[in-house]
């Protein structure tokens, strides 16, 4: 694969159409194997959840006062993963960044499916999942309403809004491309895509209002990138627990979210570009830009980790310093140093251009980042709760097999939807790729003929 801005773009709009939709509804052996693994993981996770529903939350490894375990850790992880998609599709659209075009559709799909996965965890964490409607305001005879002053309530609104806006933005972007698939299909498949395309035929009336709406969607989605993970961080920062009660949490969480999301885009799309032979649309130039985003956000995270320690030491608050000292030297020190290695050290080779443009290095480092970011949330959630103010309640927590099963199931659930998406919808935005192609003009044709 090339690592340049301007690879061999398709010569015509029609070529782009055919190139991108040729992979649809043709599952390969590799796809089928991954789909089977994802489905099996999802079923296993579902079985573990069933056991938890039958026997109660006691099947988890909760050990009071550690009552937030890997369900919350994994919830924050998946919400974070979603952020790169919105960053790429909305913010980079507003600043007219060229490199977003190849990667934004799959990143947006990743966002929607990651938030769908994250939304499972508050339900799983509830224990009594059937009472999930208590999260939402609904009129009732007792006039009981939720406490809107609680950060947990802010989170419900933030994540629901994020999911709704991301899903609408994703579908709106897909409509013209689904119309292309419809026009290249026959029979029942054509009818199904015809319904999904909403009767799109590329009239100027449609394009005019569509483009205006798309711009507004991007403008509305852009602040969500910053707000959603800030609100998630307030789930922690608004509590007085040492290790959580910090004003740097919102920017620290947002940077971490973009870091993990961009790494996940590399993890998912690098193999995809090879499997589908999509060098024209997705090449090492795109992945190099993603690696640069990771480098920037890794630097911000490293600074934030340092700031936490500096504030803990400089404040001379014994509880604050106690938790940070224990985090690096206590029972979970291995998780802390694994996080530091994966998030602060492992991305450093990307400062060298040849490392940013080497597919194997890109893929391996992106996996390290994914692992590191999961452990970052583990460190924040578990170590702070396990080592609170009173030494009499210091304890430890380790997830049970059921919790691990549910977490594995969440990866299966995400993989299931993402793999399904690759087979049924264009994973590269066709309409936007066409905007990068030189439009056919008679003047250009005349110049070629004159030569």
């Amino acid at each position: 694969m090339q690592g340049t801005e301007n690879p061999n773009r398709p010569a015509t709009f029609g070529e782009a159409n055919r190139d991108i939709i040729r992979v649809l509804l043709k599952p390969s052996m590799g796809w089928a194997a991954l789909f089977a693994i994802s489905t099996a993981a999802m079923i296993y996770g579902g079985w573990c959840w069933y056991l938890q529903l039958v026997y109660g939350l006691g099947v988890g490894g909760y050990n009071p006062p550690v009552m937030w375990g890997i369900y919350i850790v994994t919830f924050v992880f998946w919400v974070g993963i979603g952020h790169a998609g919105t960053l790429i599709s909305a913010i980079l659209f507003l600043v007219r960044s060229k490199w977003r075009t190849g990667v934004y559709r799959a990143s947006e799909a990743m966002t929607v499916f990651a938030v769908m996965t994250a939304l499972l965890f508050p339900v799983l964490h509830l224990g009594r999942a059937w009472q999930v409607y208590w999260f939402f305001p609904y009129p009732n005879q007792r006039y009981l309403w939720m406490n809107f002053k609680s950060p947990l309530m802010w989170d419900v609104f933030a994540i629901s809004t994020y999911f709704t806006v991301s899903a609408v933005f994703f579908f709106v972007g897909l409509v013209p491309d689904i119309a292309v698939v419809r026009d290249h299909s026959t029979g029942l498949v054509k009818k199904i895509y015809g319904v999904l395309a909403l009767g799109w035929h590329g009239t100027m009336r449609q394009w005019h209002h569509y483009m205006a709406a798309y711009g507004f969607f991007a403008a509305l989605a852009a602040p969500l990138v910053l707000s959603v993970h800030s609100v998630v961080s307030w789930d922690f920062a608004m509590a007085i627990t040492a290790g959580w009660h910090s004003t740097i949490f919102p920017p620290y969480f947002v940077a971490g979210a973009i870091f993990s999301g961009c790494a996940m885009v590399i993890t998912l799309m690098l193999p995809l570009s090879y499997a589908y032979n999509w060098e024209k649309y997705l090449n090492l130039w795109h992945f190099e830009q993603l690696a640069k985003m990771c480098l920037l956000t890794s630097g911000i995270l490293t600074y934030a980790y340092g700031t936490e320690y500096f504030v803990g030491w400089y404040s001379q608050n014994p509880y604050e310093w106690g938790i940070f000292y224990w985090r690096a030297t206590g029972e979970y020190a291995w998780a802390f140093w694994l996080m530091v290695f994966c998030n602060c050290v492992a991305p450093l080779p990307w400062y060298i251009r040849s490392m940013r443009t080497n597919p194997a290095v890109l893929f391996i480092i992106s996996i390290f980042v994914n692992i590191g970011m999961w452990f970052e949330r583990f460190n924040i959630v578990v170590s702070s709760l396990a080592h609170q103010f009173d030494p009499a309640v210091w304890t430890s927590y380790w997830p049970s097999e059921i919790e691990w099963g549910v977490m594995i199931g969440s990866f299966g659930w995400f993989g299931f939807w993402f793999l399904l998406f690759l087979q049924v919808l264009p994973a590269v935005a066709i309409a936007e790729i066409k905007e990068l192609i030189q439009p056919p003009t008679k003047a250009a044709l005349g110049a070629v003929e004159a030569k």
Binding site: T161, D183, M204, R205, A212, F217, L220, P440
Partner: protein
Amino acid sequence: MSTATTAPAGIRIKGIYAHLDCLLAGIEQLKSEGIRGFEVLSPLPRHEIIDAVYEGRPSPVRWWTMIGGMTGINVGFLLTSLTAIQWPMINPGGKPVVALPPYAVIMFECTILFGALFTALGAIVHTGLPGWWLDSALKDPRCNDDKFGIVFLRANVQDEARITEVLRASGAVEVTTGDDTIYEVPNA
């Protein structure tokens, strides 16, 4: 585009273009001849075409976004405040019953949510989607591929010759009228 040449019952005319500059020349020529009431088909959003057809008029979708956002911020404020006022004796954290800083988060989220949903509604209204019932002359898969098109759905019969002449002169590779404007996919 509304026009003098559009009649309730008229003739369909369609010009298919292979080149963007020819299409733009065709649009300009039609406008300069005072012929309006046509729709343009394109496989991608080109600002030159939108500018030529809409002459800088912005889409009214922006009003939907603004009204949605304003509705959202008010819904957020009313939801949080009115529900708190129903239980004024409960005062968590010593905060006022109606405390704006924590409610600002809900108000912000509602602004974005309602803004986005109203924008989607506005887009549906103004684009005319779902467009399953569009005139068959507008359903041309070639214009989702490599071609562009100018389509009159109800042109005055007296203008037929003039319109077809303008379309041909501007470089249309195919000009059809009446039922011939409905494109049948070969081997479909």
